[in-house]
């Protein structure tokens, strides 16, 4: 019985780490994998989603609708940012990094000035359940399901819709998609908007579990980049397996030596993967299939 207890405790920790990595990384992975844009303002889209979710929920909206609002607002701001900044920097990855870093700094400091150093949050809903000698948060299980839901939704959006077909065509051979009548600028704008909306969704989902501060994006950004780097450019063949592997590394080290060693293990895992697989897990899978 004690063995079953700790087995469940480990699975729960693995699921929790997996959900966090998937949700932190999915928006970044869409934007990087589909457009080759490295968006350093990713964490601020997450922050934006969290702020909108908390504000609307405190104003009386039910939490799920608040999360939806956070996602939509982040997505809309993402599309505006694409139009104003990102669009002019396609094919210039280093310039994009600097520009989005600037956006990130401006957003963090702007929020600090306008809304202060912190915002009262909303409590974690759904309470907890007990299994064996441990007690678990039910909301964390919802987050795990949300991570799986996001992966399934993305898979359907890119593989079973007309937009998905045109987006994949645009990513694979941009000039040919354009010559076949695809408005590739619109595809890029929508894709960036989807990436930002996913980041906003992540912020909204984690808002009830965190302190709402302007720098909260940084909590996610390291894990997000680690997952995307280990995964490589493909969301489904890269991000999801990478989140599983890294989630396992972190769950094992955290339950053995605590949070700090979990973080260290994550970074060591990345260094090892980059050394062995420079194009990430999806690079390995795609090379073998090609």
């Amino acid at each position: 019985m004690a063995l079953l207890d700790s087995a469940f405790a480990f699975l729960y920790q693995l699921g929790d780490a997996f959900a966090f990595l998937v949700l932190a990384a999915c928006g970044l992975a869409v934007v990087f994998g589909m457009m080759g844009v490295i968006n350093l303002a990713h964490g601020e889209f997450i922050m934006c989603g969290a702020y909108v979710t908390v504000a609307t929920t405190r104003a009386g909206l039910p939490l799920p609708l608040g999360i939806l609002a956070g996602s939509l607002v982040a997505g809309a701001i993402g599309m505006v940012l694409e139009r104003l900044v990102i669009r002019h920097l396609y094919g210039r990855p280093l310039d994009t990094i600097v520009a989005t870093w600037g956006v990130s700094l401006a957003a963090t400091q702007g929020t600090l000035i306008l809304l202060g150093s912190s915002m009262p949050g909303v409590g974690t809903p759904l309470g907890s359940f007990t299994l064996g000698s441990y007690s678990y948060s039910t909301y964390r299980v919802v987050l795990m399901l949300a991570a799986l839901g996001v992966l399934a939704g993305l898979y359907l959006a890119f593989n079973a819709t007309r937009f998905g077909t045109l987006a994949r065509a645009t990513i694979q051979v941009p000039h040919m998609a354009e010559a076949l009548g695809v408005d590739t600028r619109k595809v890029y704008a929508l894709t960036f908007g989807i990436g930002a909306a996913l980041a906003g969704l992540t912020g909204g989902l984690y808002a009830p579990t965190m302190t709402i501060v302007p720098t909260m994006g940084t909590t996610f950004i390291m894990e997000a980049f680690v997952t995307v780097v280990v995964g490589g450019a493909d969301i489904f063949l890269g991000t999801a397996p990478a989140a599983l592997v890294l989630g396992a590394v972190r769950a094992v080290l955290t339950s053995w030596q605590g949070q700090l060693f979990g973080q260290i293990g994550l970074l060591v895992a990345v260094i090892l993967v980059i050394r062995v697989l420079p194009r990430g897990i999806s690079g390995l899978i795609l090379r073998e299939r090609a």
């Binding site: 077909t165 065509a169 051979v173 010559a179």
Partner: protein, 236 residues
């Protein structure tokens, strides 16, 4: 030519300030099959790229269906009914054959129903391979896919850039026959760049000869019967 489907007037274009097209004048009537021939590096592919809009015109005009299109983005020109089949085919390598074909429907106004049979009919091999990833097809099959892809968008003009390149001769002849047949049945206009003498003679009703970024001669159907004359214009 007042009734031209496609015409250019002193069209100039190039790469990064290096001029390639130095004033091209041509006119294509609806329903014609016209070859553009010439030695390597005289600007034939550049002409095709600037007609579809992947390369901006530096000066001069392009008119399609009576409308000036030289300032339009490539996807807008394509939606007027121009199907571009590039040199090297440029299929979407990690997408299935069927998905590649549905991208071609973007030539139609958004939301228009399209018929994938427009590609499967002339090229039955595509139906057979519809679930296969396009990158794993042979060169000849990729060429058929690239042509089928624009047929799904029922274009009124097809721009073909070196359809015979890197393809075995039997498939080249088959593609040529299919296009001539398509032209007879549907009246689709075809402009193609080619080096392969047999394919030029099998398809073209007349031909432009390019040299140093200009049209330097026009060959009639009778001129095209003269193998030596055509070969001289193709000679490197």
């Amino acid at each position: 030519m007042p009734d031209a489907l496609l015409s250019t007037t002193t069209l100039r274009a190039g790469y990064g300030g290096k001029p390639v097209l130095q004033g091209v004048d041509l006119a294509i009537r609806a329903g014609e099959i016209v070859a553009v021939i010439g030695r390597n590096g005289v600007g034939k592919s550049t002409l095709m790229r600037s007609l579809i809009g992947l390369l901006p015109a530096a000066a001069g005009g392009i008119a399609f269906k009576g409308q000036a299109v030289e300032r339009l983005a490539a996807h807008k020109r394509a939606r007027l009914g121009i199907g571009y089949v590039p040199q090297g085919r440029d299929v979407f390598p990690r997408m299935s054959v069927a998905d590649n074909l549905t991208v071609g429907a973007s030539l139609l106004p958004p939301g228009t129903p399209f018929d994938i049979e427009a590609a499967y009919g002339p090229f039955p091999i595509l139906r057979e391979r519809r679930a296969q990833r396009a990158g794993t097809l042979s060169g000849g099959q990729q060429q058929q896919l690239a042509i089928g892809r624009v047929l799904v968008g029922s274009p009124s003009l097809i721009l073909l850039d070196e359809p015979s390149e890197g393809i075995q001769p039997s498939v080249v002849q088959e593609i040529g026959r299919t296009l001539v047949d398509l032209n007879r049945r549907t009246g689709v206009t075809v402009v193609f760049v080619e080096q392969n003498l047999d394919l030029i003679r099998a398809m073209a009703q007349r031909s432009y000869v390019m040299d140093k970024g200009r049209i330097v001669a026009e060959l009639t159907a009778r001129d095209l019967d003269d193998r030596d004359l055509v070969r001289r214009h193709l000679a490197v």
